[in-house]
Symmetry: C2
């Protein structure tokens, strides 16, 4: 258990500079920021350029540094940095959900082997203490479902669309102009970011690990004003949801827009806010909401992990059954029941776009002004297949039963 943290910080963007400013405003005798490594020598900085290094070795090979904060935006470089840091027996705090989701097992195993902590509360819903709660609370209970709004950009866009239905291109441009969307918003609006976070939550909440390519992610890129109007007329909201449900020891999990009755509390989560709804067998339903991103709130979560390091904390991964011998009947299946049907809504302005999508149970066809839609049931595997083979601009969303 380290008495003093000597920090090597990678990245001085939104989160990295937030860390710097919080530590400046509120210094701690136990936490010393020693070295900051960034990438671009010519970038103008808000603090003196003498404070920066540009070589990863300046942190990774410094024996004084016992903690690496990985706060960069390049997942491949981040993986290399984190791996090297763990090999050097440095503790690591990261906010990089993409990097973590892609290399989860390898990094966790390495950290355990090296007897150091790898913490990443900030990677999932910013300053909402999601990972910690999944890991340390409801400890005798069994989670039955997780439902999260974990991408601020998508939720901001959907909130604005419900205030004023308009074409998606217009709203995304507006969101970019207001700093609520990246210049390339793909990771956000197509559900990738939500999926990376879902993978981390599924591991801590259910002890189940998926590779990113094994989970379907549908996004909001093709939502149209008429979809919004359709929802509003039926007292439904549309939210981009990271969804997991444990049923008969099988985990159903995907990322997709969902139509949700406005009576459900989670539909009240607006704009860039995030929320995680936790259902447990005995404790029933809980909702944690708060700031899912932002320079200072995310920095607060990263610094909270540093305080945990000072207490010697490492995630116990207590839900992970792997390696623990258990009677056959108690081992949860990690695979989703391939026969289970989910109810989906598919819409497009062009009827022929809907053709390739085949339901196992057809429920309804309809129109909303110029928009054609159909609702029916099919298996998750079939939906995945059909999405893969369609390149039409259809909007697909899960519909309530």
């Amino acid at each position: 258990m380290p008495q003093q943290l000597s920090i090597g910080l990678f990245g001085f963007g939104s989160v990295g500079s937030g860390i710097y400013h919080v530590l400046k405003k509120k210094p701690s005798p136990e936490i010393q920021l020693k070295t900051i490594v960034v990438k671009n020598k010519d970038k103008p900085r808000s603090i003196d350029s003498s404070q920066f290094s540009y070589a990863a070795e300046d942190i990774l090979e410094d024996e004084d540094i016992n903690v690496v904060l990985e706060l960069i935006d390049d997942a491949d470089a981040a993986f290399h940095i984190v791996k090297q840091a763990l090999i050097q027996k440095k503790h690591v705090v990261s906010a990089n959900k993409k990097m973590l989701a892609e290399h989860f097992e390898e990094l966790i195993t390495l950290a355990q082997k090296q007897n150091v902590s790898l913490l990443y509360e900030a990677a999932v819903c910013g300053s909402i203490p999601v990972i910690r709660t999944l890991e340390e609370s409801f400890g005798y209970d069994a989670l039955t479902a997780l439902k999260s709004i974990s991408n601020g950009t998508s939720n901001y866009v959907l909130t604005r669309l419900f205030q004023n239905p308009q074409p998606f291109e217009e709203i995304i441009t507006d969101a970019q102009n207001h700093g609520f969307a990246e210049s390339d918003p793909t990771l956000d609006i197509d559900g990738w970011d939500t999926k990376f976070k879902l993978i981390l939550k599924n591991y801590h909440g259910f002890g189940v690990l998926h590779a990113p390519e094994d989970i379907l992610n549908l996004g909001i890129r093709h939502v149209k004003p008429e979809d919004i109007e359709f929802a509003r007329e039926k007292d439904l909201s549309i939210k981009l949801i990271g969804h997991s449900r444990m049923e008969d020891r099988r985990l159903e999990t995907y990322v997709a827009p969902q139509f949700i009755p406005t009576s459900e509390a989670i539909t009240g989560i607006d704009f860039e806010n995030n929320a995680v709804q936790i259902d447990a067998e005995f404790a029933h339903q809980h909702l944690l909401q708060g700031k899912g991103a932002g320079s200072i709130p995310t920095a607060s979560a990263v610094l909270s992990d540093l305080v945990s390091l000072l207490k010697g904390y490492a995630y116990p991964y207590s839900k992970v059954r792997k390696g623990i011998p258990e009677p056959e009947s108690q081992t949860p299946e990690v695979v989703f029941d391939p026969e289970k049907l989910i109810k989906v809504y598919i819409s497009s302005y062009a009827r022929e776009d809907l053709e390739p999508f085949r339901f196992k149970e057809r429920i309804l066809c309809g129109t909303q002004k110029q928009l054609q839609y159909k609702i029916g049931k099919l298996t998750l595997d079939h939906l995945k297949e059909q999405v893969k083979h369609s390149n039409a601009e259809v909007f697909i969303a899960v519909f309530p039963d």
Copy 2:
């Protein structure tokens, strides 16, 4: 760190029997329920009477038993039991907020001295992991405010009143008939229960400890249909709130009904549900909501504490500055700024009832049908004084600025 928990359970009421049933449904090799002590020999039980003891010694003097679950409804007897258990070096899990709030310092000190854990997540908002979150998250941050709906009975009553304004006596009788209120609802509706929970939260969230008699608690007993109508006309809700706000290193804290704009998420917490709103300097605002009570959800929280015991967990009380030498300027004042004004609404059918209440700043007088009300500002100390000397049936609520 115990490898095996041998449990002595005090109480087989709502929560105690919940524990029994969860352990029956989902047994654990590490957790064995050894002895159950109750009070009343003649009470019909849902399980065989041979399973009960009636002497506290059967648990307290059993050297095999290393954990006591204190789940009785008598705070004085509970204090005696918990104290004896700690003296015997047994870990204790309790759900008794009244007993804890009244003897907090003594019990915590004793547990630390005896090197055992005293855990009580279930005592504050049932299965919402409030204490754990205040203790382990936002660790580098500084809380600026806590605002809680923590009494299910009061919130149930207020929710029903907003659905259909009616005299308080009618709604409380109805709540009693539906099992949502005790036959003596005083602790709930007069804000005592909320205050006990507030004391525990203030200690874990701000490191500040108050005795129950030092905190003002106003309840909802005198709320009238016209108060509800007044609120509704102004898009306000009324919630019974455990309130704390840290400002300039001084903690303002009280229990009172508050008028809250319906745009605030916490007003969406309905019926018997609970919620805790946490404001922090860097992480901004978070809201945790869920089941604040109920046999099985509360049992889930108690059992979650048992799982924590198996990991060797004890609350670190990391916000408690006491005993830790700190520069004078950094020590937070635990006393509230005596000059600070709060804005309150006071109403009654009889104008003379309002007379004894004097504002420092008068803002508004008005009527709502037969109801007389006035709104103004005064200090918390003055309000406390005036409440003490009034026995009129006035409804007092904090009004938004």
